[in-house]
Symmetry: C2
Subunit: 827 residues, 2 copies
């Protein structure tokens, strides 16, 4: 088992990385000068580390250091004989050296240095900032997990101004702190003068260093002597001392800031979804940076309080890897600190900034709209509407649906209702209990009363929400658990058992006649007897997230959609039944495949969509397409807010005015300033393109294969009734291992478990009754936050439910470790 | 008058920019090879342009081209004798050469080439991608306005992999399209093999080129002959032909895409605030990129329709600069395509991606919160709450205010009202008529019925909105225009005249007793007689944006705030009058300076704040601080969505639960997934820091000085009654010139004009009655969109109002041109 590595920060070990703007700019000379300057220090040990070196051993950089500064500790970890770039030197030697091996070895060195007492460690890279490492990865990417403070050795030669700044930019967009730039002085090109002024604006001090004497080719001894004098003199000179002081100050400031941040945040920040009463700075976790699946965070115990000042003698690291198990509030997909997404964002910012979207078009926004329309494979969808987050996108979706229904059914919300002396509810929505569609007040009204909206002064429930049967894994057994209300109404057992999750999703083989009866009876009562008017069916398909990771029986949701569509008179007695296609299974789209019927069906896929549950969308899970779909969260792969509400032509047409250009008032008068911002759209195109490519390339086939076990043989199902674009034999899978999930479901403290796609949720038994107000899972969350073997897990809870969410690039090896830790913490 | 330059794209003139990854990587060799390959083409003229060259004339690159490819057109624009980087060569010659002069000269060349018929133009840069131009600006920044497609000459030497990729990244983050990479082959380092694979992932084809023969030092003639053979042979070889084909295909694809985009957008996009009935692709403007104040856009007339195919013989440019006069929906501040903001965004993306914010803290989010608290200079403000846009931030602000009022006054929105048999309105807000606070349904309820919310099914007006007097410049005269409702109630003239805008803002010298009477009477009626309960005063200070750029009399808004604060019994008969400070003007904050009184006062500064109207916030304009302030739009300088709702401690405290940790339900249960995203917060820190620095550095002193003319001498006003942090002698200014604004106000078609900060709004006379449904300003907007002298103005209208908004870095010179164009288009 490899050690989990991440950002490196020991208060008493100042680690530094020496990067070069190019090869041959004097990295080793600068390193030797710094070592020379440090060699007299009694208070700290100096370590020089060259992880990878190429060329003859006696010419290696640490040999150079050892020769001129013999009294410090210097070391090369991997040496290859050919004087070439490491990736070629390895190929020449027929060797392989994966990144992880270098990272593990370097980290082991740091650990050893930290144990050895106060010190400073200089890590010299090979070649330039983006020169290839042995595996072909660039230097800056190879060492990014550590995110060491950088001393950049600039290029003093002709052209060196440009290469120095470009090197700076390449480091900077990979999230590095560049604490100083140093370069050899040159009287002709004077790069240091230009760069000092330039980098001052970037708050990066720049230092010029006396260059070494010209090589004395007449005598090796004389040359060595001259160099020794140079190192002694220049090493003790002002500029080198200034470099060291600057770097040390930056190190100390960073630590001070990390210690101060919890209190400062406690003072200045009003946190979302947080009861602040009784909270202290100890409740705030400092995230210094993040990489792939991990935060680099200050472990809670390491935050000093006034009563418990930081132990200055401590050799514990201040930062540790912490698994981001909420996928940063469900957004994360392609890994934190992803350099491709960073560069893509920068390109859009550099090309556009943000540009006006109304009546205009830019390439990223158009490309994203086309990509979504293509990959949703939903013949109903035709138009993409942009907003900034799931909540605003759902506001738009509900506005779209209500208007379409009102136009078709001739309802006017301003008519005061038709229902006589009862309080008219206006136009309402249908949904499921436990739904959550966002925090803006309009979409709050689309959920039933709950703790979320109880104290919102303007909240008004506007809908009817069905009880629904839930999928659960309980003591190793997949079941569908029907709440009493629905079980008695349907004449169903409260719990039906299934051999596998696949069997549950094999909708064609299951009988939904009881569901049809139940839904028909309920709607008849609501519409015919109570006179209520519904304008949309709004639901999160398959998993209701914020409501507590409730796994809805897909057959129930399927039945709700198809029944409302095929029996529109359930919604409006005057509605006509949709025309049956003239030629069934016709390859051309008929109206039943595109126009809405009964009610506009709105899928809130803000959380569930874009591969969070394993598929691009959930239509195939439910064997039915929505008329409107909302996507957000994973849309930008976990970088910036963006949301799309994609709707059918028949919804769009409801906003066309007969008054032509003068009918502004009939248009959808909604639009945020940053609508379809280029940065978000560019990143989304890159991110979604990446995810689609991963699926096409079989990136998740291992997970899929392991979940196929125990399921019915993949016999081809009937698809006569399917809408086009619906895959009927879709794989149901999770990146969480089936064996682990089953094992957890047997634990005594566990009520049940669910897993689908990258989501794992564990409902704990809670004597006091479950729900958002429950605190049952908090002790488990705290246990997982304890650092063991140098890492911990940061998770979020929803009442008695604790959940874990992987990214779409998270590896099986990584999850292995997480599963082990979780398993060990649950009783 | 200089020509306005921008992105360059002539369909029949393929322009290309040759950048080098470093100096001495073979840019001129590659250029010569391409010229050689093109020299035989009869169908097009080849132009080689070296804008700036250093070193002896006979060694200049165009001399090299002229020697080896004599039959093409080659030219150097600026030659300096010293073989140094241009910025040093100039210094040596004691010369200056501003960027604009180079840009103008290069653009003039392009124009001449385009007139000369079909052709291809190669523009070779000096040194590497970021090597300094004569002024010190980098090459990539100097030529960015043109955004020419790039052929990057990579570095074939040791270290060249890294420098080539870094050069690529520096170009990419400045928004360039890099259409190809070419480098000389080297058998030892084989950089081309690595880079081909690497850039393939970036969709950039990479080509290896046979290097030239080694220099023959024995004979100049022999050497020249060998080079001539090399150019002839290699120029006609496959790789060079492939390079040319690749670049030409990219050029053609770009043009094809630009032509296709309007139809594709028309098909796929549902536009915000747009009535689509009758719209066609001709209504959609294609924005290829943007830079500083301009879009680079396809002028409408240039969009070919099926009935009017593109004239293939046309030598008109396909892209033209179009002034972004809506500041991209009011967001733009630091210029489009700002490389500093792009790099800042990339750094945050590379360091974090997005990281969970609840119970955690990251540096950019903390820094931004602290920066806002510092610069608002409002002793009331204590806590920053993050959301994604103005609408969501206002939802939060209203939730905050309503709860605080309910807690203090013991109101429970669930109690069904106390008003007997009338329909209870619940808890409402006070505001001004014409307010607009966003598009989500909750904040829509905070505005009075209007065309914006008329068709929103769930809209319910929840408030009372005051008529208010407006500031207008009419026929050269500043007036305050009171609507009849308020004029008769107050016994005021409908129009009072003022000598200057400064006089209007000199609140201490003006009499507000009539306003006090009017507001007192109105509130007494609402609260005492009608029994209505108000939970907040919500308003856009000074200028109500979406309502039609309504300039409210600051004295009226001031009076509303201070009256409610000092007379809380106007709101709740049980409220106590706030304690008077024990020591007036005490340096320590007393309770009247921090706790809310009467009502929580909420300023919607989404549009007005952060220097849009010339100040960090509008508190000094109104001589009163809010208890809650919402900022967005300019917050990120025009890059990505982000919003802050900043509130006082006394508002915050209303959400503290007596149930401690179990009182989750009492917390503000609001929070979007990307809350306080690192990219947005980093960019905001950079952007706001920049704006604050500009103010401190006197960047707008010229504007301020010109608006001080005609105003009362700056006598020191009494500030005994002021809250701390309020500047009493603040300058009232605009970047639009006072003379121009007055001139426009005299035009016969103009009703009145307003100008403040970077906002200019012109209300046109509209026989049919003004308002959002008016189309009076559309013909002016269309006239401004016509291209003249190679540029046009893209503006937005609000009913009969057309407005123009500059960025915070827009220059007087630039505005001069815009003012001239506007003045010429208005009757």
């Amino acid at each position: 088992m490899q050690r989990r590595i991440g950002a490196v920060l020991w208060p008493k070990l100042q680690c530094l990385q020496i990067y070069g703007a190019n090869t041959d700019v004097g990295k080793t000379i600068v390193s030797t000068l710094l070592c020379s300057a440090l060699s007299g220090r009694k208070d700290l040990k100096t370590h020089y580390l060259k992880p990878v070196s190429t060329g003859p051993l006696d010419e290696a950089d640490n040999s150079h250091i050892a020769r001129f500064v013999p009294n410090i500790h210097s070391k090369t970890l991997f040496q290859f004989s050919q004087p070439l770039s490491p990736h070629l030197a390895l190929a020449h030697d027929n060797a392989t050296l994966p990144d992880s091996q270098i990272q593990q070895s370097v980290h082991a060195e740091f650990s050893a240095y930290a144990q050895a007492g106060p010190g400073i460690a200089l890590v010299e890279t090979a070649g330039g900032v983006l020169s290839p490492a042995p595996s072909g990865t660039s230097q800056a990417d190879l060492y990014r997990p550590f995110r060491l403070p950088v001393l950049l050795v600039g290029d003093y030669r002709l052209g060196g101004i440009g290469t120095s700044i470009s090197a700076f930019e390449s480091l900077y967009l990979r999230g590095y702190d560049i604490n100083g730039v140093v370069l050899l002085e040159d009287d002709v090109y004077k790069n240091v003068d230009y760069l000092r002024e330039y980098f001052e604006k970037k708050k990066t001090p720049t230092f010029g260093i006396q260059p070494p004497p010209p090589r004395d080719t007449t005598s090796i001894e004389k040359d060595a002597k001259a160099m020794q004098e140079y190192y002694n003199d220049t090493g003790s000179s002002r500029p080198i001392q200034d470099v060291l002081e600057t770097l040390t100050t930056a190190h100390e400031n960073r630590i001070e800031k990390l210690h101060a941040m919890p209190q400062q945040a406690h003072d200045a920040i009003w946190y979302p979804f947080t009861q602040h009463q009784g909270r202290t700075k100890e409740d705030i976790m400092v995230i210094d940076s993040a990489y792939n699946d991990d935060f680099a965070a200050v472990p809670k115990a390491a935050s000093p309080s006034p009563s418990r000042p930081p132990k200055t003698e401590s050799n514990a690291p201040l930062l540790q890897p912490s698994t981001d198990a909420s996928a940063s509030w469900w957004t994360q997909g392609l890994g934190h600190g992803n350099p491709t997404l960073a560069l893509t964002a920068a390109n859009a910012a550099g090309r556009y900034g943000h540009v006006m979207f109304a009546s205009a078009i830019n390439e990223p926004s158009l490309n994203l709209a086309q990509l979504l329309l293509t990959h949703h494979k939903n013949p109903r969808l035709a138009k993409v509407y942009y907003t900034d987050n799931g909540s605003t996108g759902m506001e738009v979706g509900i506005k779209m649906a209500l208007r379409a229904a009102c136009v078709r059914y001739g309802w006017d919300h301003r008519d005061g209702g038709k229902s006589g002396n009862r309080e008219d509810m206006g136009i309402e929505v249908l949904g499921l209990r436990g739904s959550y569609h966002g925090d803006t007040m309009g979409v709050m009204d689309a959920s039933e009363p709950s703790v979320y909206n109880d104290r919102v002064e303007w909240y008004k429930p506007r809908g009817y929400w069905f009880h629904f049967p839930q999928v659960k894994l309980q003591r190793g057994q997949w079941i569908i658990d029907a709440p009493p209300e629905i079980a008695s109404a349907c004449g169903l057992d409260t719990a039906q058992t299934f051999s596998s999750l696949n069997e549950i999703f094999d909708l064609q083989k299951r009988d939904n006649s009881k569901y049809i009866e139940y839904i028909t009876a309920t709607l008849t009562d609501l519409v015919q007897k109570q006179g209520r008017r519904f304008g949309a069916l709004v639901m999160e398909p398959v998993i209701l997230g914020a409501g507590g990771m409730l796994f809805a029986d897909p057959l129930f949701q399927h039945t709700l959609v198809t029944l409302i569509r095929s029996q529109p008179t359930l919604i409006s007695p005057t509605a006509s039944t949709p025309p049956t296609p003239s030629t069934p299974n016709s390859p051309t789209q008929d109206q039943t495949q595109t126009a809405w019927s009964g009610l506009p069906i709105l899928y809130d896929e803000v959380f569930t969509g874009l591969y969070r549950l394993g598929c691009f969308n959930c239509s195939s899970f439910l064997q039915s397409h929505p008329d409107i779909i909302v996507n957000a969260k994973l849309l930008t792969g976990g970088l910036v807010p963006l949301c799309t509400t994609t709707a059918s032509q028949s919804i769009f047409d409801a906003f066309l005015s007969e008054n032509g250009d003068k009918g502004k008032g009939d248009a959808l008068l909604h639009g945020h300033s940053y609508t379809a911002h280029a940065v978000g759209c560019s990143v989304a195109v890159e991110s979604l393109g990446g995810l689609v490519g991963m699926e096409g390339g079989g990136a998740w086939d291992g997970f899929k294969g392991s979940w196929a076990r125990g399921s019915a043989a993949g016999t081809s199902r009937s698809d006569a009734s399917s809408e086009s674009g619906l895959e009927t034999n879709l794989p149901v899978w999770s990146c969480w291992s089936q064996d682990f999930v089953k094992e957890i479901s047997h634990k005594s403290s566990v009520s049940h478990v669910i897993a689908l796609g990258s989501v794992l949720a564990i409902a704990l038994k809670d004597e006091a009754g479950s729900g958002y107000n429950s605190n049952a899972s908090i002790s488990l969350r705290e246990k997982l936050l304890e650092t063991k073997e140098g890492w911990n897990i940061h998770s979020r809870v929803l009442g008695n439910v604790i959940y874990f969410m992987a990214g779409q690039r998270t590896t099986r090896e990584y999850l292995w470790g997480v599963e082990g830790r979780i398993g060990g913490c649950i009783d």
